[in-house]
Amino acid sequence: MVVNRFWQQLFGLGLLKQSVGGPSVYPYQPADLYKGIVVAAGYPGTKYVESTGDGLYRRSLYTFWKRTVPHPTLNVLDAPDREVCIVRRSTTNTPLQALTLLNDPIFVEAARKLAERVMTEGGKSPDARLTLAFRLATGHSPNERELNILRDALGKMLAAFQKDDAGARRLIQVGAAKSDSSIPAAELAAWTAVANIILNMDETITKG
């Protein structure tokens, strides 16, 4: 599951809670998802109360499974519905996956955390940081052309966010994990947007 790979491989001990077992957790889920589908009140499990703290950052194995409305991120990424045995999970490639991987708060937050990490661990030069981010996601360094693409994208994002500080602040506030206040908002936002690109590369999603 791509969600797990993101948390586990990219961020290691950062956000992901590494312990085994425990009760189900309730990661981010769009509001009102149960409305119009689940019978209101009276029955247990009719309300989705989002977890706090570590509960937001566990492997999806621990995500609460509601059969009437499974978690949409798992659903859209081909999680079997658990009604019949599945020998091999189908793999699909859909626009809804694109929307989820680009816009779902859990992935936007993951992008910000990746950005913070490469900005603290990746040295001073943008190239070194981009190389680290790319390597963390794919397991190898970018070639010259790939680095050029990323450098170019970073420049554009930085220019855009420097003109829109409020927008930058809104982006880096996505997710419950606090953002690193020592990094200027426009810079962190630009790096978050670039990390968002890296985490959406085909190579990251399917070959990681």
């Binding site: 009437t68 949409p72 019949v84 490639n93 809804l96 680009l102 690109i197």
Partner: protein, 529 residues
């Protein structure tokens, strides 16, 4: 990389898979790759439609909970004089009753408290609760001999949606998307819209697996459009990311993915690039679709005032028309709250009001746009309701239990006969008298109208070919013989010998009334395949 240049053309897996169909087919597949790439039947030798379709798309106005056929669509004047009499044993037969009435010591007839009248030139008999549907009476075809095998909601809804009472099969919309693909590059081919009854009593939950893809690839699952917030989940960019910025992000992402594609040659990478671009287009096409503010007043007039309130059945009907206009293949609405065990007499008018005007308005609207000819509209639930009362019985206050042995629904457009009715129930609206239509017949009919041979739309899963319509011969047979007073039901089937005999009859037959071949494998009844 130089050692394996062939992989730039097609992946090893693809090559092996397609080798069986010959390289010509592989080349053809590549040539047709564009708009049709969405549809990819397991067996590349079968293409859909199999014959000229009458309908290009379906709007299924599903009424969850089991609307009472006796109070809406099936006029039974014979019941008037039989108020509070017991249903004769000869009629009751082997009725399987639900736990909810199992404790009742008698099953008294309760006729409808509403009047019925004839509408339109066709003289279609409909309840006074459906005056607007009455205005469209000459467009609809009422099926009064529908029957199902299930007696409770979940198995019955699962049955009508997936062809099996057991969960795990793909929804009808998924099958059709899988077979026919999309006609609009900017919207999903299978869209789902839910609404709650205006009395706030939905009775049961729905399950998102009802529009799930089952064992088909996940791309075929229905996409739920929502009344509030993002119409599609995660449609909006994260806060702070503008559309221009997203464009630059996707340009960079596309360039990186193409870089990988040049290196690795996996065709799935091209698909991914295309899907990200479709996601980008959906960010404008979906809000444009969902924004009905430009619709003129006379259109709202057709659907009723509710159509101005997002999330209502009427608003969803209007959206359904807009989806149909844009070529969406299967549009599935669910309106809940039809499960009237008690207080039917109070609740039914509310539900009828919720749906009557908008359903009829949809037909009129589709027709004036020339869309009704190739759009199949279906209105109905998973089963009907009992002619006997559940609980206390008074002429103007009663409830009815679930009833699957006969019920009614209507269809319109898409090659269906106009101002027509098919099938009849008996004097009590209890059993099929003639023209029985099993759920599988309905599904086979829908596929037929779309130009699909229901036996050819299959998917290989767990080592065998699955299909939507499971035992259609079985139902044809019962449909054919359903004028017999006693229907044979799977659960009242008796001995294995009888089952064998039935199978032999089935296997021996060469064609049914409609001239369709009935030579099916004998395993049909036991290994639902």
């Amino acid at each position: 990389m130089e050692c394996c240049n062939f992989s730039r053309v097609t992946s090893r897996r693809d090559l092996l898979a397609r080798a069986g169909y010959g390289l010509g087919a592989a080349a053809l597949h590549a040539l047709l790759g564009g708009a049709k790439a969405h549809a990819e039947p397991t067996d590349a030798r079968v293409t859909f439609p199999n014959f000229t379709p009458k309908a290009k798309r379906v709007i299924f106005l599903f009424q969850a909970g089991g609307p009472s056929h006796l109070d809406l669509l099936d006029y039974k004047p014979q019941m008037k004089d039989r108020f509070n009499q017991d249903i004769p044993a000869s009629v009751f037969g082997t009725q399987r009753i639900t736990g909810m009435v199992a404790q009742q010591d008698r099953f008294p007839v309760v006729p409808t408290m509403w009047g019925f009248r004839q509408y339109g030139e066709s003289g279609q008999w409909l309840s006074e609760l459906l005056p607007h549907t009455g205005r469209a009476a000459d467009e609809i075809c009422v099926l009064r001999g529908m029957y199902t095998e299930a007696i409770n909601h979940d198995p019955a809804i699962t049955f009508i949606q997936t062809g099996s009472q057991l969960p795990g099969r793909p929804s009808m919309g998924s099958w059709i998307d899988y077979g026919l693909g999309s006609e609009n590059e900017n919207l999903p081919a299978f869209v789902v819209l839910n609404s709650l009854p205006s009395n706030g009593q939905p009775d049961q939950g729905l399950l998102s697996r009802l529009w799930g893809a089952g064992f088909l690839p996940g791309r075929y699952q229905g996409v739920q459009f929502r009344g509030g917030g993002d119409p599609v989940l995660h449609l909006s960019n994260p806060p702070g990311i503008t559309r221009e910025m997203r464009r630059s992000q996707l340009d960079a992402l596309g360039a990186l993915n193409r870089e990988l594609h040049d290196r690795a040659g996996d065709p799935e990478i091209e698909t991914r690039i295309a899907q990200y671009e479709m996601a980008f287009r959906m960010q404008t096409s979906v809000p444009e679709l969902a924004n009905t503010s430009q619709e003129p007043d006379h259109i709202y007039e057709l659907y009723g005032d509710d159509a101005r309130k997002p999330g209502t059945f009427a608003a969803n009907c209007l959206l359904a028309r807009r989806l149909a206009e844009r070529g969406v293949r299967f549009i599935q609405l669910y309106h809940r709250g039809w499960d009237h065990h008690g207080g039917l007499t109070d609740k039914l008018p509310v539900l009828a009001r919720d749906t009557d005007r908008a359903s009829a308005g949809l037909i009129v609207d589709l027709k004036q746009r020339g869309l009704l000819d190739d759009t199949l509209v279906i209105w109905g639930g998973e089963f009907g309701r009992t002619p006997y009362a559940q609980g206390a019985v008074k002429p103007d206050s009663y409830g009815r239990d679930h009833h699957g042995r006969v019920f009614s629904l209507w269809m319109a457009g898409g090659g269906v006969k106009r101002g027509y009715s098919h099938g009849q129930s008996d004097d009590y609206g209890f059993n099929v008298a003639e023209g029985g239509v099993h759920i599988h017949d309905l599904q086979a009919t829908v596929l037929h109208l779309l130009g699909i041979d229901h036996t050819k739309l299959t998917y290989l899963f767990q080592g065998r070919q699955f299909r939507l319509v499971v035992g259609v011969l079985y139902s044809f047979k019962y449909a054919t013989y359903s004028h017999l007073p006693k229907l044979k039901w799977p659960y009242a089937r008796g001995s294995e010998d009888e089952l064998e005999a039935n199978n032999d009859v089935a296997a021996a037959g060469s064609s049914d009334d409609a001239g369709r071949s009935t030579e099916f494998p004998r395993c049909r009844l036991r290994t639902v395949c």
